[in-house]
Symmetry: C5
Subunit: 366 residues, 5 copies
């Protein structure tokens, strides 16, 4: 699954499974736009390491068994035959291969007799939120990883540790390699979540100082991104837990200790995610309050202006009437009074003063 | 249950059970509008397949036992006698038959001594959201399926696999057929949920660019549809789980492996559903914010216009008063001033400039 | 408990227990307004049935043991002595009898050594939502039911089945009778929930077409009714479950199968209830959106009118000022221009056209 | 804890523990305002009862063991020495005594080797919501109760039952006394919750007929009171459950039956509480809707008035302009028309009629 | 983790792990701004106590084993070598040391073979909400504590108890010391939560009497602080629970009793926290209602003023029109009537009276 979240995104959600309902299980159908596979083999032991990019799956056979661990990494799922051949070399189940190709799987771990099958979502490096499916097979002497496309993974440092014999990776078995890869995937979520946290902080400032219409869209977009991340992260925790529970045969005690550490990291990431989500929800409430507040203030200003000037205008209108004083002594005699105009202005001033005092008492004037 | 959700729907919710409270259990009463049954029998084994539409249930007997698997599919529940006869042929419990006819059942699985009874809701193909009840009996050598009406099911590809001997369906037993049918039902939900996801994306764009009154109705309608789907889907997951737990005797190990795959799909669908539901709830909040924002902007415009022009009009009104300058030197001497009119216009210009500066400082003018 | 929900209800919630805190347990105090008891005895077996209304509890003794099952139904809890005597005849615990009389009990099931005690709320037939407490004792050869008042129960069809020997009720034991009564109580909730569903549909239409102030009150009232139903229905499910778990000794295997069916119905009812509740909550949100939308539209109209006419009126006011053209060439020379009036009207028309274009560009006019 | 909830309350929440963080456990420090202790001893058996108020804890010793049960009730925790001496007489643990004095404990039950220690919150009789901590020790032949201050408890009827030998309290052991006290505490919550229910009903009426600013404050205050009650009540249920689970040695079978009844009451109270809480939340929503509705209606009126009169005033203003008809035939010739004034009035009437028809079509005029 | 929450905070959330994804586990990298370590050793037994500040970790060795308990406290994590050396002295696992240095850990407890490792967040004394990570190792004869920086801890009273031989701390083992430190950490949260409670009470008063724009910001800020506290406190409870469950070998029975007391305190704190959180959420609702109410009142005033004066002004405008009475008997003959002006004023008075009565009937005038 490649979940790009562009600015105005149409590809937000994964497209559905390509296989029509009712098809026989285990049918391998490549995604139309899937890139052709690039196969990289790394095999190593305490004494050395061989790293090679190969063209055809048959070439894998020659690496198996020569060194304690062989790691086959496939970038790109565009060629179903390649995947089927690799499956045959390592005796993988058809349903598992189907899940490798249908990249919209929910993260999960499945224990087969001779190997463990793990599906998870890997965060791609880059500006936008994008994930791809990583399918990992762990056997007693091999690790297979299938990625949707070349580049973007977080495995560079793991490869370096193998090449440069850093830490205990070369002396440990395939289970330790699988742990190292999982750990790299888990840790790659930290910077992403940190970034969302910072954006939420920035939006909070924006709501306090000058909220505008984009603010709501931004919060909404973050909420949706976090929802996507949530779908990737919660199962991740379960996966590591399942590995600890079910993978007894394949995982050495030391690897299990490290996996428990990895589990702690996953819990911590979910913690951050949920905190971010709750913050985002809180921001929406805060924003709504903020707008209501502003509308209230605008209304106050309008009401003050209207309430003061409408009566004044009325008074002026009254003395703008054309009743003829000549026709009767009752017809607007004020117009001919000596103090008529000053009295009218005085009346207006009095009304204004009265209203201003009223507003001040209500606390509307600051 | 046939839950059509038309544009202005009255039939949104299932009508209640026709049997009055207190009736003896096992009473079979056909729904008034239920169509007459169409019975199709497919029986097959590794060597061949016979497919036939029959008129009377008695004809079923001749197919039972001839081949390893017999699948009887009944479309339409309008004739209670037919269902009772089929029940007798396969020794089905009266309460189960009652549930077949009363099509408002909650999805469930019940383990009887010699067969499993499964009730679930099947999505009908078509424009609108509509489901019908599928009742499925799984015995050691038979599968019975009862649908509310002909057409609309997702079993065409399964029939094809039987006819064309695709995959391992012909060599496997009745349990595998039941799995294949369940799998087809589960997978048929994917396109529907995908479609809701797309509609939600479209509505999100609508809220950003030009929300109107229909927008709220649309979100509300999607929310209700998703609520209906939820009632169908959550039990679906439990059902597959129950099958895995309870159906030990009838399900072969290989079928169980496939059922677990099917379970994963159900979990994935529920995941999509819940994501869609949360998105719909989020859209409502977003829409409310959006409207509040727009109201705020409208108020701002009104307030700017009113606050500028009401004082101006007041000034004009004052000099529209008819106090007679002749009556007194205090009566509107301005009217006779040489610069009277320009001064009045200047006063108005000054007031306008002051207010504009005030609004600019408040950030209301762009 | 008799929870009438009248139009303007004061009796919405149950009154508290009459017994003051600190009283010894098992104190029987009749409710003031409780009607006097009417005792009906039905005793039956496969061979026949006797049905009789009796005056004093002593008369019950002659029915016990003559036929396999005796069912004593008491309508009205106004006479504490009667209840105590029945309690003595069947050796019932004092705390259970206290719960019979204090009709504000939470639904529950209690297993005593020789009998099961079940308390639940029964929906009364009638226009308004009203429930009463049903207390049921199930012994190996008797069923006792205590209702708050005569009439309103859902047991007519059960009595008919006994009288007319329909189904297997006459051949089965007291446990089957208890199941039949429970089933009748459970099924009586279906029509009520259906009715709420229909009312919610109607209110949804109302919100779309013409919401008014009563709409909110109606939604609120339905929400409260559903809350009352919820308090009755959730424990109902637990009760049937408890019976299945604890009532091993008293319930025959066949009765348990039927009870499981009854349990399914209870789950289905709760499903309907929760769907209705969620729909009601959704309607409130929808209604709020709807009002915000309408307020927004009203504001738009006001703003359009005010924004167009306030400047026009201002222009007219300016030329209504009385500055004397005679006093100075700068004093309103326009008034004496040949094209003065047409120019003024033209200015107004230009302003109007400009503002209309502005509103059209904002999308406010259509 | 004494949680008074006065009209404008500052003491709403419990003050924090007086002991500074890091102090050794078991430090007894009396609260500053705590009243001096009043000690009452009641000792009884089937044959008789002695009831006496004593001055010093040493006097307790003479009562212990003379009769099957001794009940020491201490009102007021102002004297730490007294409490320590009582603790020594009955061999109580220091941590338990600390919890007696620090009256901000969460309700809990602790099983020590020879006695059970129960902390709960007791509702005080009176106008306002106020609770105090009740600490209860149950030994095989004693019950100790510590209350924060004299008066206000619900134990008068229990004392009467002991004095007057009502029910089986005198023949039963100390466990039955403890049950009776617990039951009195639990039952004392019923009237309080009933009162909140009635206030919520009254507020609902208020929202329907004439909501004002106090309405929101009232709902808010009830919500906070219910939150306080919730903190007291949920642990209460757990406590009774713990007693049933852990108190095997000290509780007779008959007492356990009664405790189960008491447990039912606690569940029922929590049910009422949660219903009240949900009702309060629903009222807030309803109130918000109600205000939005009213604002909408006010806006409608304003818009109708403004939309009708602003154009009318504009027409009048036009003919109030002073363009000189003498200066040109185009300058306001209408002023000299024979039907000028009636035509102007007719124009106004026509505009009014048109707008009224518009509003009627929009359904704004009733 | 040092979570300062300043007025305009950027450092609200923890920065992410410094170690890049894919690094080998157990890599110790000091935080850039971390202060250099200050090491304090306290060793004691029933007979005496030695307390000393040391410069290099090697000096620790001489204290180990001389007295029953040695407590090494390290303030400041700026020097990785120091920490590694201490780890070697006490044979600590590399992953645990990594968690000590990477101070963004989620609180947790890990049982190693010879020691327990506890991570938790300690509230710093001071004006603002700030926490730091406390890492604690408990061995059979040692306690190690690592704090992020000198000062700010809550251990002063614990040190005093050791120095002055208060309570049983000197006679008990290292487990009791660990308990005492945990207890001090837990209790230090009480004043902070109390303070938030008081601020919420103050804000509630503010909302009732005079809400302004800062009110919303304040509630929002408290909500976020409480969210931070929540992330620290919920795991704290789990930690103590885990200790009770897993720490069997290292914890004496008496210490476990005290830990259970400490567990009760943690539960109580979480209770307070959740109450505060719910109160904060309730305040937001209340505030929104309050603003809506005020807007409603402002609108009412505006509508009253406008509805009264707009018609009055219209009447005045009509008689301000300049139709020439001379031109026709129909042209504003009112202007020449004897009672013209008084009649016009009377008409205005009548309109005003009518509108006032209308508003009074609507209940808008008080």
């Amino acid at each position: 699954m490649s979940t790009d979240v562009p600015h105005r995104n149409k590809h937000h959600r994964p497209r559905h499974r390509k296989v029509p309902p009712g098809s026989p299980p285990g049918t391998l159908v490549a995604d139309l736009g899937a890139p052709p596979p690039v196969i990289q083999v790394i095999t190593y032991g305490p004494e050395g390491v061989i790293e090679q990019e190969i063209q055809t799956p048959e070439a894998i056979a020659q690496f198996v068994g020569r060194w304690p661990v062989v790691w086959v990494n496939v970038d790109g799922l565009g060629d179903v035959d390649t995947i089927r051949q690799i499956g045959e070399i390592f005796s993988l189940h058809g349903l598992a291969l189907e899940d490798v190709v249908n990249v919209h799987q929910r993260p999960k771990v499945e224990a087969y007799e001779k190997y463990l099958f793990v599906v998870l979502h890997m965060l791609l490096a880059g500006e936008r939120l994008a994930t791809e499916q990583l399918s990992l097979f762990l056997g007693s002497n091999f690790v297979l990883t299938f990625q949707e496309r070349p580049g973007g993974d977080s495995f560079a440092l793991v490869r370096d540790r193998v090449r440069k014999n850093q830490g205990r990776i070369r002396t440990a078995g395939s289970d330790y390699l699988a742990y190292a890869l999982l750990d790299a995937v888990v840790d790659s979520y930290f910077p992403a979540l940190e970034q969302y946290g910072e954006r939420l902080d920035a939006i909070e400032q924006e709501v306090i100082t000058r909220p505008d219409r984009d603010t709501a869209s931004n919060i909404n977009r973050i909420k949706r991104d976090l929802l996507v991340l949530r779908r990737a992260l919660w199962p991740l925790r379960e996966i590591i837990n399942s590995l600890l529970r079910e993978g007894t045969a394949l995982l050495a005690e030391e690897t299990r200790t490290h996996l428990r550490d990895c589990y702690d990291h996953a819990v911590q990431i979910i913690d951050l995610l949920e905190t971010d989500r709750e913050t985002a929800f809180g921001l929406l409430d805060f924003y709504l309050l903020s707008i209501s507040n502003r509308t209230n203030e605008i209304m106050k200003l309008l009401t003050i202006i209207a309430t003061i000037f409408i009566p004044l205008s009325f008074i002026a209108s009254v003395y703008g009437m054309n009743f003829r004083p000549e026709a009767s002594p009752w017809n607007m005699p004020e117009l001919n009074w000596y103090w008529g105009y000053p009295l009218a202005l005085g009346l207006m001033a009095a009304v204004t003063a009265g209203l201003l005092r009223y507003f001040r008492r209500k606390g509307w004037l600051g």
